[in-house]
Subunit: 678 residues, 2 copies
């Protein structure tokens, strides 16, 4: 038995529901499918553990509907439901929940078992807000078709960029399947996740064999657990698998032998796991193999794989994180930010229908602040996933509070001006171009820590990610407050206090870390903690070029790398000039003198000093607020979180002092407020 807590599924009996404690006597269902047992079980738990009633009876062979009463009815959506719900159509994964007062019956109706499962979770979510069943009325369906999680778990048991312990899928090259696997699937279903890749995109030696008989039966066991929660399982594959397995000498996508190899491998895989999701691929990046080795394009590479699984309904997810990671820091012309666009824009329209390009939100790499990747506005005839990182690699590594939903919302709302449906949301929801295969992928922040996410408050990011994907209309605040309710209960003081802490925590984090969008300034390799020149003379293409006069990267067309031109108008014009570039991205696009005056009226150098002092003060206030929760919440979570908040404060001070000292020494400019700079 794995040891773990239940995060936001920690059901507790609610006083608010006392009045309906004896109302739900039977759960009726006439829907069939893999998820139905789990949906019914979840409802049973809800009745006993949230409402506090006796365990309800189960009736899964409903014959005469008109006789149903005093319970919950899971049903296939029909014309009557449509009429009752203003013409709402649930589609693949939507649901309607409504109350039949005559028969004291909560109806959860959907087109299939997955819709029912989501409906059940939605019903429970509302129960846990303290709503009586008779008050719950929902007609919802997901805005984003693919709501995916990418695990960067390695079979050794470690997690690349994992900050919540080790993997719960693997230990020492063995696959783990236990009660935690089941609970994880349940948790993910509860927030609407419907696809999960269970191994790192950097596919090492042993992981290359996940698609072979050595591991396939165990992968199928995980797949089946996932399937019973409506989740498709994906595997990251090694593009050079036939070579690494010493079966072929090349992995050229146009080579007949290679094509046959993959056809055979895929056919066998789908023979064992007929409902398998597909392949996730990181190719020709950071040392990974790929089609470039053979002079082929990424379209050649992706399509070859895709054609071996198309007939089974499988998809290929192909990452666009391709750049030269052996850059010379002396070379100021090459610009890593340009790389994804430069590599992929010419291939628009060349990818098969079951291929999707997975594009990181920004052009570089999950920094606390980046412009939106210009590929979203560039590609028109290609399936696209937005990739975000729930794991806080550059945003405090789950030792700092950094609620990321506001950042992701900004990205989704960014208008690329590619068409009149030009927001990223419209593009990755399929609305813009009508794609079937599009969505959002998040690099998960989970691990085998008892609380799943290391920092308890990082649960808001995982929960929020799923909820945001399902319902993009929810605001970041609505999502945060919803999570707080699910996690900590219905108390308003707790809700307000926790929200005060997490609500703006991303902006707080930004204040004490790299200024004005310039990024990096972290310790190399582990990416934690400040190191202003940490990457400045390295090979990764991540520079700030600070000198005694100014700082920032000139990415203009006029005098810089020309990156700004990868955007559609008006962005390309706005980013070309400092005056029209938003302050928060100024140093991403321009090398500016320290005495340049920002929109805020402050000089850059004074902005740096001020924000860094403010950032630390805001963390101090977070701690004060958290301390008000002592005795009001689970003491284990209280102490655990207080420890991390204290570490965050120390780290924030280190950031403040290093950044301020660095720029003070470099610029020679005094702080106008005369505060301590070392």
């Amino acid at each position: 038995m794995a040891v773990f807590e239940k995060a936001w599924l920690n059901y507790r009996v609610l006083k608010e529901l006392e009045g309906c404690r004896n109302d739900i006597k039977v759960i009726f269902s006439d829907v069939k499918g893999k998820c139905i047992d789990n949906a019914i079980n979840e409802l049973k738990l809800a009745v006993t553990d949230i409402i506090g009633g006796d365990e309800p009876g189960i009736c899964t062979c409903v014959r005469i509907v008109s006789e149903l009463s005093d319970g919950i009815y899971l049903k296939l959506y029909n014309d009557d439901d449509k009429e009752l719900n203003d013409g709402f159509e649930p589609g693949e994964e939507g649901y309607a929940v409504y109350y039949d007062a005559d028969n004291r019956l909560t109806v959860i109706a959907a087109d299939n078992d997955r819709g029912i499962l989501y409906g059940v979770f939605a019903f429970i979510r509302n129960l846990r807000k303290g709503m009586l069943p008779s008050d719950i009325r929902l007609t919802e369906k997901p805005d984003i078709t693919f709501r995916m999680l990418d695990h960067w778990d390695n079979m050794y048991g470690d997690i690349e960029r994992g900050y919540s312990g080790n993997s719960f899928f693997y230990d020492n090259y063995r696959i783990i399947i236990d009660d935690r696997t089941e609970f994880y699937a349940r948790m993910m279903a509860s927030i609407g996740i419907n696809a999960i890749a269970i191994n790192n995109v950097n596919v090492h030696q042993e992981e290359t064999l996940l698609i072979t008989d050595k591991y396939l039966n165990e992968v199928k066991r995980i797949n089946d657990i996932f399937a019973s929660y409506g989740i498709k399982l994906y595997l990251s594959v090694n593009y050079a698998a036939p070579v690494e397995m010493v079966e072929l000498e090349v992995s050229d996508p146009l080579d007949e032998g290679v094509i046959e190899w993959w056809k055979k491998a895929s056919a066998h895989l789908y023979d064992v796991i007929p409902d398998f999701g597909g392949y996730l691929v990181k190719a020709d990046s950071e040392g990974r193999p790929g089609p470039f080795t053979y002079g082929r394009t990424h379209a050649d590479g992706a399509n070859m794989l895709a054609r071996t699984i198309a007939q089974y309904g499988g998809n290929v997810i192909w990452r666009c994180f391709v750049y030269n990671c052996r850059q010379d820091w002396r070379d100021r012309k090459t610009d890593r930010a340009r790389a994804a666009y430069d590599h992929f824009i010419g291939l628009d329209g060349e990818f098969d229908d079951n291929v999707v390009l997975q594009i990181k939100n920004g052009p570089v790499d999950f920094q606390p602040r980046e412009p939106v990747s210009p590929l979203f506005g560039g590609l028109k005839k290609t399936n696209m996933f937005l990739e975000v990182q729930i794991a806080q690699e550059y945003t405090g590594q789950q030792r700092h509070v950094c609620y990321l939903v506001p950042m992701w919302k900004e990205i989704l709302d960014f208008n690329t001006y590619a068409s009149d449906k030009g927001t990223v949301k419209e593009i990755v929801s399929g609305e813009a171009y009508g794609n079937r295969l599009c969505g959002i992928a998040g690099v998960t922040n989970t691990g085998n820590d008892i609380n799943w996410t290391g920092h308890d408050l990082a649960g808001a990011n995982l929960y929020g990610y799923g909820r945001m994907c399902f319902d993009t209309a929810l605001s970041a605040e609505e999502i945060a407050r919803e999570w707080i309710t699910q996690e900590f209960g219905t108390d308003k003081f707790i809700n307000d206090t926790v929200y005060d802490i997490i609500g703006n925590s991303w902006l707080t984090y930004e204040k004490y870390t790299p200024p004005l969008g310039v990024g990096w300034m972290v310790n190399p390799s582990n990416h934690y903690g400040p190191n202003v020149d940490g990457y400045e003379y390295d090979r990764w293409g991540t520079y700030h070029f600070a000198d005694c006069k100014g700082v920032g990267v000139d990415r203009t067309v006029a005098t810089g790398t020309g990156y700004a031109s990868q955007y559609n108008k008006p962005w390309s014009d706005r980013y070309e000039k400092p005056e029209t570039t938003p302050d928060e991205l100024l140093l991403f696009f321009h090398h500016m003198d320290y005495d340049y005056v920002l929109d805020s009226g402050k000089t850059i150098i004074q902005h740096i000093y001020d924000t860094h002092f403010e950032g630390v003060e805001e963390v101090e206030r977070m701690i004060d607020k958290w301390k008000k929760l002592e005795g009001k919440i689970n003491p284990v979570i209280y102490e655990r979180t207080l420890d991390r908040l204290n570490e965050q404060l120390e780290s924030a001070k280190e950031w403040r002092d290093r950044i301020n000292t660095y720029f003070y020494r470099k610029s020679g400019t005094e702080d106008k407020k005369g505060r301590t700079i070392y």
Copy 2:
């Protein structure tokens, strides 16, 4: 059978000795002792493999000396020898070598077998210069009593700061004893090493057990091989051994139980290995345990150990490398350079006779340039070892050529003004205060690489270290040229060429690395390659404080940390002022503006630019010179060294560009010569 080359013992028949090929028919000996067999074997090899003669007969039972002829005679030094050699007295380890023309007999005379062994190696060294036996006349004895090597080998097989492969003493927690062990002892004896500590001063879990029966029998086997070459074996011990072995709860040096524990351990150790050398201890430093834990002094700690081995003739070598490695970079008052002096000066006179303090050459840590540690001039009533690092941790890691003997010679010649015998050489030779226990310890640069030292030219440092300790009057050039002859033969062109490359290589290295004595600027942890701010905001007390106006550490009494006052006059006065501080140490002692004019007439900033360009040019010239040796030396060594030289060039360019760019960006000052700075 281990695979290794013979370094400077790669005996080859010399044409120059053709004339005496048949002269040595018998090796006579009337000296007894552990080293005699090895001395005779070495001579046999010399006759066959250097002179090219037939294997000589051996006569070890000399009865009538007047009948000896046509050979070599190893004998106990007596009054006749003294008269023949101008009253020379060989002492413990000296020897006389002279030729008895009447009987065509080379005489090697000494007070004991160890002196004979050194005499044999000295005779051979001269043979290999092409000298005929009849021309060899020597009366030599070592200047330094303890000529020690410290291995930082761990039992896992790795070597801390090892750049020549793994350990040849250990592999995967097993002790290795093979033909390489034997050859190593022979090599070390050939350069006069007489003490070796075979495990890292950072004594980890398993190494703590080296003094126990788990490993003692194998340690004894190494000890006996060493003894047959006149070398004393030492072990680094864990000060907390009784605690780590879970036998006691404290390791307080004044605790009766602790004293008993060590008495018992030492008694048993000397019971198994009666001629064991003693203990080497790193205590209260960089996380190692020590007497501070119990509020005791280092004298308490060292004396306690020393008293457990005094009766067996054992010594305790106690390192002075004690400092706070958790410093706050914001704190500009604390100065790591002060630490060794501050910790130990108050204990002068408190250490037992069989305790010696091992003092690193400089106050910080083996930087390419440091002032000499003020402890040498401070302690008056304490035994002292000078510790140098043959391993090139901060001097190119055996990927760069950096001949270190010139640096060590400067250190030995440094006048501390502690007395009229105030040079470091006079202090560590015992001349100044008449100590029995004093000497030099070198952290070795060896490993299981086929050529022992990784870089072939690093052999000059190992060889040179031993020869310099034995004969401090030899110049760095004499030592270098002697090594070249032993390694590459008697060819003058080769000698000149190799000497041209290595002779000034330390100064070349200094040119392209941290300027004017400021030190560090390396990548953290591995210490290889440039990273100007690598340690600037870290906890190690190693800063340069560069800002837009200047750079350097103020260690004056007037305005800085006061470190300069740790020296005797006139150094304390000279170091107090920039004008009287030698240029090469200027930034070690002072924070100076970039436009300060050096003795050389250049500003600091222009000096930085110039030396960094020059350094790279000098490496380019090294490569040109080396290429002239193609076809003239062993092609394996030629290619191996060329590879490293090419790597050195790339690395030197990286140093040049990073340092120049860093200071250009920081100072905003143009290079007067308009060269490329990025």
